[in-house]
Every structure is written in structure tokens, then in C-alpha cells.
Amino acid sequence: MDTQTQKTTALVQVTDISKIYNPGENEVRALDHVSLTINEGEFVAIIGQSGSGKSTLMNMLGCLDTPTSGTYMLHGVDVSHMTDDEQSDVRNREIGFIFQGFNLIQSLTAFENVELPLIYRKVPRRQRHQLAKAALEKVGLGKRMDHKPGELSGGQQQRVAIARAIAQAPPILLADEPTGNLDSASSRDIMNVIHSLYEEGRTVIIITHDPGIAAQAKRIITISDGHIIDDKINPSIEE
């Protein structure tokens, strides 16, 4: 692998992206000409008030939605004008999602939930089982693999979700309010897991309205009314 290109090509390169909901009468400019570059191995927090456009940005970054205008280059590939299926493949390969509401499938066990992205990636059964098991062990749930989400605490469920996000080792971890539904002990717990993943070299983008969570990131981007109003290296962290 050519280290030169890795350094020069940004992992995430968003250029002049806008997202307009309900174009016409009651239109909402959720994102208004946003540009943003994130390099490999960064730990970025995107912070802003409720309704400022954080989730909309996360949907763009996660290839869950396409922008009204502007381009999004991921790994040097334009993903902003792809078909649904192409976007599905990009999500599967590049992005591990951690949602506020965990988003586990209730009828499946922890193990089966973690297996899902590997199934969609067509990983052979044996390898899939190994990877899913390893991911669950990594988040400390090796003994809870056969439990359904309903039988797990909130913190444990979020850890299953993290295991699912990292099982197939995507370059980007995208977390939208990952601790929003958790008590403070569980929150610390989850943030520790996310930290250790960052330390392993993964790119972490965490979306939050909680300054305490944002303060743990290396770079803090502040968004308001669909605009980026601040983008700085976290001053409280010594490089």
C-alpha cells in the first residue's frame, strides 16, 4: 500500500453539500453549503443543538441519504450520486454505525445481529462465526452471545451494536448520540470502548449535543442551523 496516497487523500471529503427537505413551500435547509474534510485515524466530534442538522450530516456521511447538491468523496470515490444498491455496498464496506437507539433487531440474538453485516458481505459461514464471536468478545459480551436484545441492559445492547459495527472492520465508525439513551455509568463504559477503537487506528466520527462527550474527541466541529460555525483541534487535549 502506498503510504504517500494515504496521507494525501482525505478519507472523507465533503464539498459544498446542501440538503433541503420539502423543497418548495415549507422547505427546510437542514444543511446549507457545508464543506468538510476528515482524514484517516481522526477522532472527530460533531456538536450542535437539537435541530441544527447533525443527524442530516450523519446520514450524508453514512451514505444513508443523498445530498440535494454538492459532492461527497469517500476514499476518493464520489458516493453522492450512487444508486441505492451501490450505496448499500459502500455502507457495508466502509461504515460501522452506532445509533442512539441501538437499532438491534429484536427477534435475533446478539450473535445473529453481529453476523448481519457479514452476511450481506457474503463472508463464508465459518469465518463469519469467528469474526462475530471475536467482535462480541472485544466488547466484553463473549458470554451473552445467545441473548436477545430484550434480555440485555441498555449499555450491553449498545455494546452489541458496537460489536456489529466493528465486526467487519470498516474504516469509519459513525456514532449518532451513542450515549443518548444511557445512564452515566454505561455512557462512560461505551465511551471507553469507542476510545479504544480509536486507539487501534479507526476513524471515529461521533455526533452529540453533549459537550462532555465532545470534549473527549481530538477535533470538534460545531454546527448550527445547517452551517459549520467552528472547526478546531480540541484545546483540552495535549497532542
Binding site: 453514512g62 444513508l64 441519504d65 441505492d84 444498491d85 455502507r91 454505525f97 437499532n103 427477534s107 450481506y120
Partner: protein, 404 residues
């Protein structure tokens, strides 16, 4: 494999709902199977040849609605002589009357010629059959079986005895010239019946020269619309066909379908007609239930998709393509209808074998029918599942994730 596993989970999670959904398909498929297997059974029942018929006699009828022409005894003799594989031909005249010998006895009288002796393969207990002379002169003679002798005389040793026979107010005195052997068990049964005096529900059968009926009892003339042939063993079909053709030639009725072999073949035609209309009705029921069942599947799948919108969003966010979601829901709807199809098939088998027992038909199930049921079920599942499945598959992941 994963798809089947997860579909199974979802189907069994909501058992009552699934069973209700399957009901239409179960009814549809079970009626399809029932008609098919009973139909098959009936067909294989009816394809037996004329040789399997009791007594080996084949009756040939002239359709009186199509022609006024009739055959004479001489014509029958011509047919008998012309076809070497025919042992004999006799007119077929049946009358009902009363015998009297110390008491009355209901009697069926069969008028024929000497060839009708072929009817009896067990030989004579005493005496012999009536002769050509008896036929020529219309003599007052008759032949009967041992059981009929029991019914009329209360004894089997009746050769030479006389009794009164009344048909339509004409009474004559007949002499028994021969007694034909009956089956021993049958004979024993009739001894008991006669002893008990409970003979009101029985008929005695006697065989007389047809000329006795036509000339002495004045019942019609030497004009027959029905006759019987006695073919050589194993050649019934060919003999009947030849006799039919010859009769048509004699009457100059070629190609008009006025002469018919009364056999399983014509019975089968009648059955087939009945079966066809029954099949139509059941097929209609089946089609309607399959339609209703299919709509039920569609409905339940739409509900399922709505309930599981969030799950679909999650799956899509993890990289599921449109096709995998589509496939997942199609597998689910096909499994519901396939499962229903199997239940329907088993019910259909049970139903048809019960019906078959009642109607004394051996229900027959072909492998092709089973294959057809599987095909129909999967088709219904896919056809009615495709709309909700497509809706699920094309959901926008952002909207789907926001559901609930």
C-alpha cells in the same frame, strides 16, 4: 439458508395470524388434491376392459331415439355365425311376473335363445337347457338356478315340476326342464332365507325361450333393440366391436352412432361427464380460495412490512441490497403458502380417501399432483408477496430507521 431460518422465526412468532392467513390456501389446495386424486382413482377404476365384466356377456343396444329399426332373431343368428370369436348371441328381453306354486313369488323372466346357456358356467344340477325346438315353437318351458328353485318351490329337486307364471294377467303353466348349479354358500344362504319365510324382497330368475314371451304371452314381436353376445375368453373388446359393426351393417345404420356397446366404456363416459362438472365446481372453489388465500398472504405481508419497517432500515444501513430485502420477504411469503400447501395436501389426501371409501373408489395420488401443489403454492406466495416485498425493499433507509 439464513433467509429460510429467519423467515421461519417470523412465521412462527405469530402463529395464530399465520394459520388464519393460510386458511384460504389450505382450502384451495386440499380441494385441488381431492378432485385430482378422486378423478385419478375413478379413471383407473373405469379403464378395466370388457373381459373383467361379470359373466363375460356384453350387451349391445340399439338407441331407439335415433332409429326405429330393430333386429330379428335371424339377424342375431347371422351375427353369431359371422364372428368366430363369439360363442353365442341371444336377444335380451326382460319381464317381471308372478310365479305360483303353493304360494306366490316375484319373478324376473329372461327371454333368450339357446345361446343364453352360455350364461351358466357352473353346469347343470339336473336336466338341461331348453332346445332349439322349444325356441322355434315357443314351448312353455324354463330353466332356473337352484336358488331360484328354492324361492319358487322351496326345493332344488324341481326338474319336471310345473308351476303357474303370470305376466300382465296372462297365466300359463311352465315346466322346468333344467336346474343350473348355484354357488354352495349362496345356496346355503337362500335355504335360511326360505326357511325363515322372508322372501318378499327377492326375485326368482327364470330363463325362457324369447318366443314364449313374444308369441304366447303376446309381449312384442320378433323385434329386438337389445342383444347379448358371449365372446370367447379374452376377446370381449374385439368381439363386441365386430358385433356392433355387423349390426350397423345389417340395419344400414353405419356411422350414425345408433348402436352402442353397453359396457364400462359407456359407463365411464357418463362418469366422466359427471366428474367433469364436479371438477368444474371444485376447481372454482379452489380458484376462489387460492385467490382469497393469496390476498390474505398479501395482506399479512403488508402488515409485516409495516411492523418491521425499522428492521428493514437497520438491515439496509448494514448493507442489505434491495434484492436481499426483496428475497427475504418473498421467501417468507412463499414459505407461508408452501406450508399451507402442504397442510392442504395432507387434508386433501385424507378428504379424498374418506370420500373414496364412501364411494368405493380407490383414490390415487400422482407425484405430478404433489409437484403441482408445490408449484401453485410457491407461485401464490411469490405472486401475492411481490407487492409488499417490493415496498419493503425500496424503502428509504433514513425514513425506515425513523419508524416507530
Amino acid at each position: 439458508m439464513e433467509y429460510i431460518k429467519s423467515s421461519w422465526k417470523n412465521i412462527t412468532m405469530n402463529k395464530a395470524r399465520t394459520v388464519l392467513t393460510m386458511l384460504g390456501i389450505i382450502i384451495g389446495i386440499s380441494s385441488v388434491i381431492a378432485i385430482l386424486s378422486i378423478g385419478n382413482g375413478l379413471k383407473s377404476d373405469l379403464t378395466g376392459s370388457l373381459d373383467d365384466m361379470v359373466g363375460g356377456a356384453v350387451t349391445i343396444n340399439i338407441n331407439t331415439k335415433k332409429t326405429p329399426k330393430t333386429l330379428k332373431n335371424d339377424d342375431l343368428m347371422v351375427i353369431a355365425d359371422a364372428i368366430p370369436i363369439i360363442r353365442g348371441v341371444t336377444p335380451n328381453v326382460t319381464q317381471y311376473g308372478i310365479s305360483y306354486y303353493r304360494r306366490e313369488m316375484g319373478t324376473r323372466i329372461f327371454g333368450g335363445n339357446t345361446s343364453s346357456a352360455c350364461e351358466f358356467d357352473k353346469g347343470f344340477y339336473s336336466g338341461k337347457y331348453y332346445t332349439q325346438d322349444d325356441v322355434d315353437s315357443g314351448n312353455d318351458v324354463c330353466v332356473m338356478s337352484q336358488t331360484s328353485a328354492l324361492l319358487i318351490f322351496g326345493s332344488t329337486d324341481v326338474q319336471g315340476l310345473q308351476f303357474e307364471l303370470t305376466i300382465n294377467e296372462t297365466t300359463r303353466i311352465l315346466t322346468v326342464v333344467g336346474v343350473v348349479r348355484s354357488d354352495e354358500a349362496e345356496l346355503e344362504r337362500f335355504r335360511e332365507i326360505v326357511k325363515s319365510g322372508d322372501i318378499d324382497y327377492f326375485y326368482a330368475d327364470i330363463y325362457v325361450p324369447y318366443s314364449l314371451l313374444s308369441d304366447k304371452y303376446n309381449l312384442g314381436k320378433d323385434e329386438f333393440t337389445s342383444f347379448q353376445i358371449y365372446p370367447m375368453p379374452g376377446q370381449a373388446d374385439e368381439a363386441a366391436a365386430k358385433a356392433k359393426t355387423l349390426a350397423e351393417n345389417i340395419l344400414d345404420l353405419r356411422g350414425q352412432g345408433a348402436v352402442a356397446i353397453q359396457s364400462y366404456a359407456s359407463l365411464m363416459e357418463m362418469y366422466a361427464n359427471v366428474l367433469d362438472s364436479v371438477t368444474m365446481v371444485i376447481a372454482l372453489v379452489a380458484a376462489i380460495s387460492l385467490l382469497v388465500g393469496g390476498i390474505g398472504v398479501m395482506n399479512i405481508m403488508t402488515v409485516t412490512v409495516t411492523e418491521r419497517t425499522r428492521e428493514i432500515g437497520i438491515r439496509k444501513s448494514l448493507g442489505a441490497r434491495t434484492s436481499s430485502i426483496l428475497f427475504q420477504f418473498l421467501v417468507e411469503s412463499s414459505m407461508i403458502s408452501l406450508f399451507a400447501g402442504f397442510i392442504g395436501m395432507i387434508l386433501g389426501f385424507v378428504f379424498s380417501s374418506v370420500l373414496g371409501k364412501l364411494a368405493e373408489i380407490q383414490a390415487v395420488v400422482h407425484a405430478s399432483d404433489v409437484a403441482m401443489v408445490v408449484a401453485i403454492s410457491v407461485f401464490v406466495g411469490i405472486f401475492f408477496g411481490i407487492y409488499p416485498a417490493r415496498r419493503a425493499a425500496t424503502l428509504n433507509p433514513v425514513d425506515a430507521l425513523r419508524a416507530e
